[in-house]
Symmetry: C2
Subunit: 206 residues, 2 copies
């Protein structure tokens, strides 16, 4: 038997370099021209590859953008994301939500993230890929942080953790996407406090 | 001096009939072909008017869709929207949120509302028109209902009413738009309970 033919290490390295060049070009162009004017042709030109190379790897520009975000989210260490856990739930959530708001307000990310979010809104298949590969690990990290607070008695026992995550992040994402109000650090603090305490009055000191 | 020339009642009536035909055609076509394939030409053909008639009144297809929603939201009585106020805040919010979810799950509205939401996400000018003319009166009705509960001592005194509204509607709109989970009546109940009680444990009976 002969060994199966495999791509040489050089070929694999060249392919990975092309893939990264394409994803970087897509992300950069998205910031410059917006999603509506983004084209596979434009990405190919910017990345100095043939259009067919892109079509061979991705079925649509939505999926190219998706993979560009996936590349960005791969941390330096490659480990799964985790939320800080200092034992002070309000402080940890506020820190994370303030960082989220800073990212949403950053012009480098605003346009690409809007493009991804609105593609997801119209494309159930992309939404499923997003839920599994990008949002899934992040959602898991948020659930874990809230679950550890719940085990420590800091969250009500009968809370649905998915709903709890949405109480904290839903208002912020919704305000950002539908542009219904300013996104400030002070707003992050208010959302965390309101989500934790609820709308009903509490007895002082509880 | 001669009186200024005014359109005759017949002309005004014909104009209003054309406007309604165009908006109805736009809304219907949106459900059938989706926003990306919706064109001014298509709307004109469906409404049996010339393309120029549409361009004379609206600068973009996003604004046509916007006005189609505005037409839908004009109630039979023409009065401003109001939320039910039976004195039982949880019951009132649950009823309204279940109705919202039923609408979001209705195929007649899902596609047009996604189109409007994603146009808003990319178009600050449309977002401003939306905030003022469509979302504004609704937001005001929600604030009023929560404000009346606050005055009755059913909501904490230091609650920001805008944040309170977002605690109830934000998770639902976000789950719908980003397709991150099922939208059921049971989910509406859970969101209302969690928003009112907060994530932290409460003493029984409070």
């Amino acid at each position: 038997m002969t060994a199966p033919r495999r791509a040489s290490p050089n070929t694999a390295r060249r392919k990975e370099a092309s893939r990264r060049a394409i994803l970087t070009a897509a992300f950069d162009l998205l910031q410059e021209v917006g999603y509506a004017k983004l084209s596979i042709e434009g990405i190919a030109a910017r990345a100095s590859v043939g259009k067919q190379t892109i079509y061979r790897w991705w079925p649509s520009k939505g999926m190219v953008i998706f993979d560009a975000f996936l590349m960005l989210s791969e941390g330096a260490d490659g480990g799964p994301p985790a939320l800080p856990d200092t034992g002070d739930l309000a402080a940890d959530l506020t820190a994370v939500l303030r960082a989220t708001i800073a990212e949403l307000n950053d012009p480098r990310y605003d346009q690409p993230m809007r493009a991804l979010a609105t593609e997801i809104a119209h494309d159930p298949e992309l939404a499923a890929a997003y839920a599994q590969r990008l949002e899934g690990p992040l959602q898991q990290a948020k659930r874990q942080r809230l679950g550890s607070a719940q085990r420590a008695g800091q969250l009500a026992e009968d809370i649905d953790l998915d709903v709890a995550v949405e109480m904290v992040w839903g208002p912020v994402l919704n305000r950002w996407l539908l542009r219904t109000g300013p996104l400030t650090a002070e707003y992050a603090d208010r959302v965390v406090t309101t989500a934790l305490n609820g709308l009903r009055p509490r007895q002082p000191g509880r």
